[in-house]
Structure formats: structure tokens, C-alpha cells
């Protein structure tokens, strides 16, 4: 009978992505009986040294597929690697991060294995009666939540939105089993060729990792408004993010977008400036610890989720606020 939870570990350039650690943490929480295990699938080239850190973060076992063909992510070879591990382990559940790689790979694997796949989940739990995995995800742009089950097929597969689950702290007293699985790759596994890899030079942090976010919407008026938000963010040691409207208007880069089609964030402070709060936006930020919203329109839906809602003009309040915080900090010292 299928058992155990398999977590696909996404690594890029030998660095394990946070979402994979979040999934290891979640998988531990889903384990019902002591006989079940969390198994990490680590695929790549010369990545074996990462295996220990996966045990520390919650894996009981790590299965490694190490081959030169896996150096840079390609659909064909990675599908073959993950499928081989699934066939060997016969898991009950397989989890992937809902990143661009996870959402390229998981559907390919599910089609090959002939099982169901639920995309972009934001909650996972085990049904106490049936033992099936309940996979909850937003649909219709976040307007509706749907709980999906895959009762007749195994494994039950899901991609899970980054930033939603919580990773466990590293516990280096944990130990586990490691195993290298040899997969027989052939030249025909890769039907496409990477001519070039263009890495984005990271000027700024990933917004999903910021402790404070000052986020701008249409209400800031134009691209220059982000300069004003940046100054406020600097006083808070935070970063700048955006609603979809500003990205569509070309005021700021897409990787700053919070929401259903952007990123999910849960910072200690989310300050929504001139954001009306479409449901698609709320879906990406409502788990933030403290939400402060400033908006001219006193019926803006953002106020429904704000811990502190201020009706007023962001273009007046934000510069004054930046100044006030600077003064406050000086006095405190």
C-alpha cells in the first residue's frame, strides 16, 4: 500500500529553495502514524552535501539523484528523475513548491504517472475519516476557495504556494537515511537545448522574505510614488512591494507584485498605501501580522483586513510618516 510523503526539493545553483523547507515542515505535521516517513527527493548535479540539511529540517530519508544532465533545470530529465523515485517509493503523497519549476515539473510527472494534481494549494490536511489528503486552493482569482481530493489514485500530488507553510528550525541532532538512486539517463531525455542562462542580478531582496513591506497601489499616482514609498520603507528597514495595477501600468517590476498572480507575503508589517484591496491582492497578504492601510476611499475593501485603517491621501501622509519615524528613532536613541 502506498505510504510516506515525498517532498520534491527544489535547488537552484546548489541552493535549496525556502519553499522546499516549508514543505518538509508541513509534511512532518501531516504524518499520522509513526511508521510513516517524510522522504526528500534531491535531484541535481553535485548536490549530495545538501542532504544533511534536509534531515535537520524534517526529512527522515533523502533520495538523491545526481547527474550532470540535472545541472540546470530541464523538464525532460527532471521528470524522469522524479518519476523514477516515485515508482521506487510508492508514496501516498507528493508535494512540490508552486514555483515556476514546480509548476512545470509536477503536471508533467502527474500525467506520466496517471494521477491527480492540485495546483497552488494554500492549505493541506488529512481527512480524519478517509485518510485522504484535503488540498485547499484559491480559484476564480481568490474569490472562492476549493477543497480538492484525489481519492482513487495514488500518489496524491499537490503544488504548494511558497510562503504559506512554515519551515521547522534546523535541528542538527536529527539523523536519517540517505540513498543515491541511479537513473539511467540517455541523450534522448533532453529534447531541448539551453543555449544560455541569464541570471537576474539581485539588486533587492525577495519581497517574500522582507520583515516590513510598504506596498503601493494605483492611489500613489505614478511611478515616482514608489520613490516616496522606498523612503518610508528605509526608515522601517523594509522593502517595497506593489499591487497588480502598478505592475500592469509599468511603474514597478513584476517580481514586486503581491497577490494571487504575484507573491504571497506574511511580513511583520504590511503597509498598504493607496491599494483598494481587490480580493486577488488580499489573497497574497492577509496573513501579515500587522496590516496598516491608508486609502482615500473609506469603503475600500483593504480596510476589511486592516488592523489599522486610515482614510486619507497617501501622497500627503507617507512623506510625513517617514519624517515622523525618523524623528521618533532619534528621540529613542
Amino acid at each position: 500500500m502506498s505510504k510516506n510523503i515525498l517532498v520534491y526539493i527544489e535547488q537552484r545553483d546548489g541552493k535549496v529553495q525556502n519553499v522546499s523547507l516549508e514543505l518538509l515542515g508541513k509534511a512532518r505535521g501531516l504524518i499520522a502514524e509513526a511508521s510513516e516517513k517524510v522522504v526528500a527527493v534531491l535531484a541535481g548535479y553535485q548536490i549530495q552535501e545538501l542532504a544533511n540539511s534536509l534531515i535537520w529540517r524534517g526529512a527522515d530519508e533523502v533520495i538523491i539523484v545526481d547527474d550532470r544532465i540535472l545541472e540546470e533545470y530541464m523538464t525532460g530529465p527532471y521528470t524522469k528523475a522524479v518519476t523514477a523515485v516515485i515508482k521506487k517509493c510508492d508514496p501516498s503523497i507528493v508535494l512540490f513548491g508552486a514555483t515556476s519549476i514546480g509548476r512545470d515539473l509536477a503536471p508533467r510527472v502527474s500525467a506520466r504517472i496517471h494521477t491527480g494534481l492540485t495546483a497552488d494549494c494554500t492549505a493541506l490536511e488529512i481527512d480524519g475519516e478517509t485518510g485522504n489528503l484535503l488540498m485547499t486552493r484559491p480559484a476564480f482569482g481568490g474569490n472562492i476557495m476549493a477543497t480538492i481530493v484525489c481519492a482513487e489514485f495514488r500518489p496524491q500530488m499537490a503544488t504548494v504556494r511558497p510562503g504559506v507553510m512554515k519551515a521547522l528550525p534546523a535541528d542538527n541532532s536529527r539523523s536519517g537515511k540517505m540513498e543515491v538512486l541511479a537513473v539511467d539517463f540517455v541523450a534522448g531525455d533532453n529534447h531541448v537545448k539551453i543555449r544560455e542562462v541569464v541570471r537576474e542580478t539581485k539588486k533587492s531582496r525577495d519581497i517574500a522574505e522582507a520583515k516590513c513591506l510598504v506596498s503601493g497601489g494605483r492611489g500613489i499616482g505614478n511611478a515616482k510614488g514608489f520613490q516616496m514609498l522606498r523612503e518610508l520603507a528605509d526608515t522601517l528597514g523594509g522593502d517595497v512591494s506593489s499591487s497588480r495595477a502598478c505592475v500592469d501600468a509599468g511603474w514597478i517590476e513584476k517580481n514586486r507584485q503581491v497577490g494571487q498572480t504575484g507573491k504571497t507575503v506574511r511580513p511583520a508589517l504590511y503597509m498598504a498605501c493607496g491599494i483598494s484591496g481587490a480580493i486577488q491582492h488580499l489573497a497574497g497578504m492577509e496573513e501579515s501580522e500587522l496590516i496598516i492601510a491608508i486609502n482615500k476611499n473609506n469603503t475600500a475593501p483593504i480596510f476589511d483586513v486592516a488592523d489599522l485603517g486610515i482614510v486619507g491621501d497617501v501622497n500627503v501622509i507617507v512623506p510625513k510618516l517617514a519624517e515622523a519615524i525618523r524623528k521618533y528613532k532619534l528621540c529613542k536613541v
Binding site: 509548476r103 500525467a111 491527480g116 497552488d120 482569482g141 472562492i144 537576474e200 476589511d304 483586513v305 489599522l308
Partner: protein, 263 residues
């Protein structure tokens, strides 16, 4: 080059509203559109036809009303349109949907298949890659640019932190991002042709039966089921300040930040 574009007719989700009493989706009067990523796929196909020659076929699976979406694609310049419609296809999840569409593609034949990355109603991004797997052809997802170099397509695949410049040859499947291009408008002559000269071919299950195991279609062929759907409960407003001057507002915010030890 035979290019087939798979499209989906979707409700314009920016217009979707919930019934405040029942909490269900109000569908009445909601306009439908061609899914934005798919529209970029149509444009990419038309551009590719311009560079490499060949034909563009648009294909959709949906209710009979999806005819409108296909006519729009014809009016943009597509050569042929196929509507896959049958009650037996209803209730399909991404696995069954991709199996059904793959069967139709086996029948049409293809060199290059283009789909949108994901549809704005389901947001799964699964059907494109699953079609490619069913047809055992390579996929290049998240295409931000497509160029033709002889027999080779050079595709820019956009990931979060990097992009890959990828060389691929037909047969293959590409999933298009809406950032890929600015789709052309329908021309007046195009609209005329779409309704008077061109045809939408309708295929039911009987037309593709030779290309699929009928156990793999519709609700019965779907590994996943929706167990329940619900609306999220808003967490509720905290302090709401409607009538403060900017200076008062600033003071209230600073107090709050201090109280929460953020400053």
C-alpha cells in the same frame, strides 16, 4: 508549419462578484473573454506563421457558447477553428481535460502547439504541460519571447530568478505568458470573415473516440474531485480612522508601530 493554439473562454474575473447573501459566485451577466495568456498565444502563433509560413488552428474545449471565443481568434487571423464540445467532457479536471485535448490534437496533427501558461479562472498552469506529456513531446513553459532560426525555435523561458534561452524543434509545445506580446485587434474584414467565410468545426466525443480511452474523459476520468468550495471569511477591521488630519493620522500610525515594537 502547422501551429495549433489551445485557448479557453473564461469569465472576466476582474468582474467576478460574490453574492453577499449566499456567498456564491454571481455568473449572470459576467462577460467572457479569451483567457489573456491564450490571447498572447494566438498572437505568437500568427507572428510565427508570418515568419515561418504554414497555418494557425485554434482549438478549445468548452460549452457551445465558446464559439464566440473561436470566432474572435478567427477574426484576429487564425485559419481554422475547432470546438470540442460534448456533455461527456463536462466536469473534467486538468488530467481529463489534457487527455481530451491531446486526443483532438492527435487528430488535427501539429508541428507546434501553443497554450497560455494558465487560465485566470482555475489558475492551475497544468493543462499545457499535461498535454505535452500525453503527446510525448517536449514543452517549453513560460515563454517570454519566441524567435525562428531556420528549423529551430529559440524561446526565452522566464523563471523567477533567471531566464533560459532554449532551442527546440517541432514537434513541441510552448506555454505563453501574457507579457509575450501585445495581441492584435480584430479587423473589420477579419470579423466579417470569421462569421461569413470561415467555419468553426464542432467535434464531439464521436469525432475523437479513435484517439482516446473514453475512461479518461469528463468527471469520471478525473482523478481529482472538488469536495467543497467556500468563500474566505474576512478577518475583520481593526481600528478605523475616518476623520483625522494628516498629522493626526501620522501620530496614530507611529503609536501603533511603537506599540508593536516595529520602531
Amino acid at each position: 508549419m502547422k501551429i495549433v493554439v489551445c485557448i479557453k473562454q473564461v469569465p472576466d474575473t476582474t468582474e467576478v462578484r460574490l453574492d453577499p447573501v449566499t456567498g456564491t459566485l454571481i455568473r449572470d451577466g459576467i462577460p467572457t473573454i479569451i483567457n489573456p495568456d491564450d490571447r498572447a498565444g494566438i498572437e505568437a502563433a500568427l507572428t510565427l506563421r508570418g515568419q515561418a509560413g504554414g497555418s494557425v488552428t485554434v482549438l478549445t474545449m468548452g460549452p457551445p457558447q465558446a464559439d464566440v471565443a473561436l470566432r474572435e481568434a478567427l477574426a484576429m487571423g487564425a485559419d481554422e477553428a475547432i470546438l470540442l464540445t460534448d456533455r461527456a467532457f463536462g466536469g473534467a479536471d486538468t488530467w481529463a481535460t489534457s487527455s481530451t485535448i491531446a486526443a483532438a490534437l492527435r487528430k488535427t496533427g501539429f508541428d507546434v502547439i501553443i497554450t497560455g501558461r494558465q487560465a485566470i479562472d482555475g489558475d492551475t498552469a497544468q493543462v499545457g504541460p499535461q498535454i505535452a506529456e500525453h503527446l510525448a513531446i517536449p514543452q517549453v513553459s513560460y515563454a517570454g519571447d519566441i524567435q525562428v532560426e531556420g528549423e529551430t525555435l529559440v524561446v526565452r523561458r522566464m523563471f523567477e530568478d533567471r531566464c533560459h534561452i532554449i532551442e527546440v524543434t517541432a514537434p513541441c509545445l510552448i506555454t505563453a505568458l501574457s507579457e509575450l506580446n501585445k495581441p492584435r485587434y480584430m479587423s473589420i474584414a477579419g470579423i466579417y470573415d470569421a462569421y461569413r467565410k470561415k467555419e468553426v468545426t464542432v467535434w464531439t466525443l464521436a469525432d475523437i473516440e479513435d484517439h482516446i480511452d473514453t475512461g479518461n474523459i469528463g468527471l469520471n476520468g478525473s482523478p481529482t474531485r472538488v469536495k467543497k468550495s467556500f468563500t474566505k471569511q474576512p478577518k475583520g477591521t481593526g481600528t478605523f480612522v475616518d476623520n483625522a488630519s494628516p498629522d493626526e493620522a501620522v501620530e496614530i500610525i507611529v503609536q501603533k508601530l511603537a506599540e508593536k515594537y516595529i520602531i
